[in-house]
Symmetry: C2
Subunit: 180 residues, 2 copies
DNA sequence: CCAAAACGGAACGCTGACGTTCCATTTCTG
DNA sequence: CAGAAATGGAACGTCAGCGTTCCGTTTTGG
């Protein structure tokens, strides 16, 4: 069943995001599936993780594509990007929070989205138009963006901030910093 | 020998910061010591990690204390704090990057410094004086601070940013965000 | 210089997670 | 409804890392 396959991949991403040493039975349970069934789809742990990595990368890629970063002002596009990232929070944390995941199982660069990344394009466009800080490198801004999104996800998971208001908080801090 | 003890603790923090699943022989090797010797000081893995946690917490605590956060303007104090945090980067990453570490081995709160934290005091003072954003909670600002410090440490470890200039970059982004 | 302490290597048993196989049961599908 | 496919439980061997013991070697300190 194809439904089982995606349930396993989603569960793997979700569980491994919270605990990268999660055991295989834990993943199976989270997917509502027996350990045997997991092995039927993915012979060994490495195969499973690699498949989950690719699945997550695709889901994130689609979310970013739908954000249409090349349209509108850079600030508007940035808003859509943050919202898109937050909507796939679990997958983001799974893929990029532990450098080892992408380094060991990723198909492309050790960390961060692949080259030709629309996110980097957006940042560079914003810098070229003079609205994004160009004292910082585009890479730095990109990493700051991720860091704030991660922080927002943590807050939501912890209940400190509502899932509804987190995007606004992340964007405000990202744009203006913490000074008044 | 007391020198051996601190070498083991420092190695544990450093190695576990980079790979939380690091094996015990790896830690011993990083400390320049045999596995047997590690066991002589710390009977089992849990004891070792707990000791490393307490050691790191103390080192970080001293660094923060030396930053004298209650002196000068909040912005000045914030600069000193960022510098202090960056100077103990490895230990910070070890303690707080993986929520499980403090949850399983920490003596106080599951994450972040203990209550009565001078850092929170500083943030609240800055908000009261009207220089720090008070649309955000103090906790949010604190977590953003950590996130940017972590990001700065990553960049340094990766060679993207010089160890010398990273404090200025972190502070600039923290204060003004990424817009011009 | 010599005894005592510290160290490191080797070997052993133990445990938890993994990967495999077998088979009974449930769920599709024609 | 009947055969085929998918599922999940149980049991087994394997293996890596842990914790322990023993003993020879190095370092410390009087």
């Amino acid at each position: 069943m194809e439904r089982t396959r995606s349930a396993i991949l989603a569960a793997a991403a979700s569980v491994l995001a919270r605990d990268r040493a999660a055991t295989l039975p834990q993943i199976a349970a989270a997917a509502g599936v027996g350990r045997t069934t997991v092995h039927r789809y993915y012979p060994d742990r490495d195969t499973l993780i690699k498949a989950a990595v690719e699945d997550s990368a695709q889901v994130i890629g689609e979310a970013v594509t739908e954000a249409r970063l090349d349209e509108g002002t850079p600030v508007e596009a940035l808003h859509r990007l943050v919202t898109a990232y937050l909507s796939v929070g679990d997958r983001l944390v799974f893929l990029f929070n532990d450098p080892h995941v992408m380094r060991d199982y990723g198909v492309d660069q050790p960390d961060g989205p692949p080259p030709g990344d629309p996110v980097l394009d957006l940042i560079e466009r914003g810098q070229a138009e003079g609205v994004f800080d160009d004292q910082s490198t585009a890479t730095w801004i990109q990493h700051v963006l991720w860091a704030l999104v991660y922080t927002g996800i943590d807050e939501v998971n912890k209940g400190t901030v509502s899932r509804h208001g987190v995007a606004a908080t992340v964007i405000r801090t990202l744009e203006r910093g913490i000074l008044t």
